[in-house]
Symmetry: none
Subunit: 410 residues, 2 copies
Amino acid sequence: MKSLMIIADGLGGRPGDVDGRTCLQVAETPEIDDLLSRRGSAGLMDPIKPGIRPGSDTAHLSLFGYDPYKYYTGRGVFEAAGIGMEVTENDVCFRTNFATLDSDGKISDRRAGRISEGQDELEKALSDLKSKKYPEVEVRFKRSTEHRGALCFAGPDLGGNVTPTDPHELGIRMPKAKGRDEKSERTADILNEVTDEASEILQNHPLNMERKEMGKLPANAIMARGAATYPDLPLVKERYGISASVVAAGALYIGVARIIGMEFKQAEGATGTVDSNILNKVKLALKQLEKGQDLVFLHFKGTDNASHDHDAEGKINFIEKIDRTFGWLNDNVDWDRTHLSFAGDHTTPIKYGGHVADPVPAMLAGPNVRKDRVEVFDEFSCANGGLGRFSGNLLPITLGYSNQLKKFGA
Amino acid sequence: MKSLMIIADGLGGRPGDVDGRTCLQVAETPEIDDLLSRRGSAGLMDPIKPGIRPGSDTAHLSLFGYDPYKYYTGRGVFEAAGIGMEVTENDVCFRTNFATLDSDGKISDRRAGRISEGQDELEKALSDLKSKKYPEVEVRFKRSTEHRGALCFAGPDLGGNVTPTDPHELGIRMPKAKGRDEKSERTADILNEVTDEASEILQNHPLNMERKEMGKLPANAIMARGAATYPDLPLVKERYGISASVVAAGALYIGVARIIGMEFKQAEGATGTVDSNILNKVKLALKQLEKGQDLVFLHFKGTDNASHDHDAEGKINFIEKIDRTFGWLNDNVDWDRTHLSFAGDHTTPIKYGGHVADPVPAMLAGPNVRKDRVEVFDEFSCANGGLGRFSGNLLPITLGYSNQLKKFGA
């Protein structure tokens, strides 16, 4: 049998979203409801556990069955892996932003005006970054979408307890990184050195001259945060004995999935925004299962983007867009041999615009699921579902229904 | 936003309480039910986890989000902090009883006839207690209500693995304390020395002569139990980033709350019994929120007292008394900006008269709560509520709805 795990990021909502109803309640989701009614069972899932407010990375670790209290080292390594950098046990990685410093060296924009072109040239200009103090340490920088990127150091005696050089504030100078232990102090040293060098290179880069002339903010600094060593965790092959692919567009999700050993598959037109061609993602996911993968993890990001932007209409529209792909799934999944799970990774209410700890609606569908009486997929109906309330572990739970789990004990 | 967490001690019951119904089912609770119906969601909470029979201290640690398997060292330190002693990392503390030894040195009453006057004098007489063998160790004794008190030793190399000198039995001599490791042996030594000294002082105390003359049992010994070192735990400020107050009357609850960094507030007329002026407590709790505290923990003890006394009528009456304070809360809480949680800390059935592991009814009310269809707050209705079944952590769960939680991960 096969397993398909689908996550709509930030899917969960609160009654305050739209006049006392959540976006998921307001959205028309006939296809999801049809699947749930005919083949499914619903429940409420605490992404990590009740009373814990999840990040995206910690939530996904937990959904994949990896206790984030045991395995989470920080965000940087997932970001780096997510944008295609090859990271290993020797790496310490940071998530970076291209940023704008004014003539006094103070931060005037944390995203360099959301720079949208020329980043390849800037990446190239930074390809020889090096620490003079620690020449044995390999330095790698890679751009991602817009202002985003990652910076990795590979070498001996590096540590991940490094404070960010992105203060999440404007009008002040970039703070120097500090390490909270000996190895991390060394790593902070390298970060400060490399960051200074990057600023010098970027300051005089022709592209930034051009940007200034055009009235755009120059990308004359990189700021780093989310320092992380490589997490010491078993791959899905080892832990569950399965092969798995990830179909996603957001770097962080791709990164977590790659680090636990899923193969990344790029869908045409997948953007990680509300405009993404998510039907292509769904088709690619099913193709991966047909090609022999035991499990595919399919991630939609648009729900969370709209939630962070306090955009109820955008969230409702994106949920309805997801619903249409479920129409295709209803018709094309081999329902005799497949279990599908669908849930949020956390709740992001429209008014609050950030992650909260409230549990998310979750459903499982397939031949071995004990169908319950829930016919509508939302935060309220799912509370009465046959799955009850459970904490994370959606991936192994899905595998379980597909008889894909190894036995613990005799 | 603000959080108000209300615990009615031993609130949960069993069908055998009153002719097949629990006391909570029998009690008339129109105000609690009104709050739940209009603004709330209900569930069942296992104070620690299913199949664990909680103590009051371990249950409260768990409700506060502190895993008792990780943080619990014993009862003594909470009792000492709860009666206002300043305890630190250097302390080992015991809960004590004034007791009566007969002329053969055998225990004839574990509570010195529930002594109700003169304890201040006895405390004063014991103010110079000292170990001759270990003069560097500071010895402090403080009385509490009736026969209750606490004894603390502060100094280097003390341990908390010390057996009690209160055998919970009559007609035998007080057993000598023993230590289960080197530091605890030293501590047991000191306890035995100090206990002997205390008996000598008390034996000849004028107050005890008087008591004997009046036909009362003398308080001629102190018995110790619940040895505990100071638990190594993060304060609520650090763990959750919040300020918090506790409004309670029972020493143990005040103690747990103080040790995790809550500020104790004394309500006028609060006694920790069924006669307590609990409306004053409720008013003080709300005042604390208005004064700027992020969270207030409000504790009612009467439900548990009546349960331990097998007094169904007393428990029902006290629940109805609590209900009347909910009438005041319904009218006076700022419901746009406050989340309230209400639950038991464990189940104490009338017939059994002790703590059992059965889950307790729990509810959350406030603007961000996904209202469910439960309209009656009792052990049976709550089982069908929108919160499902969860384990402890009521404090962080409440904070979550009020957007007061720190994020774990990025």
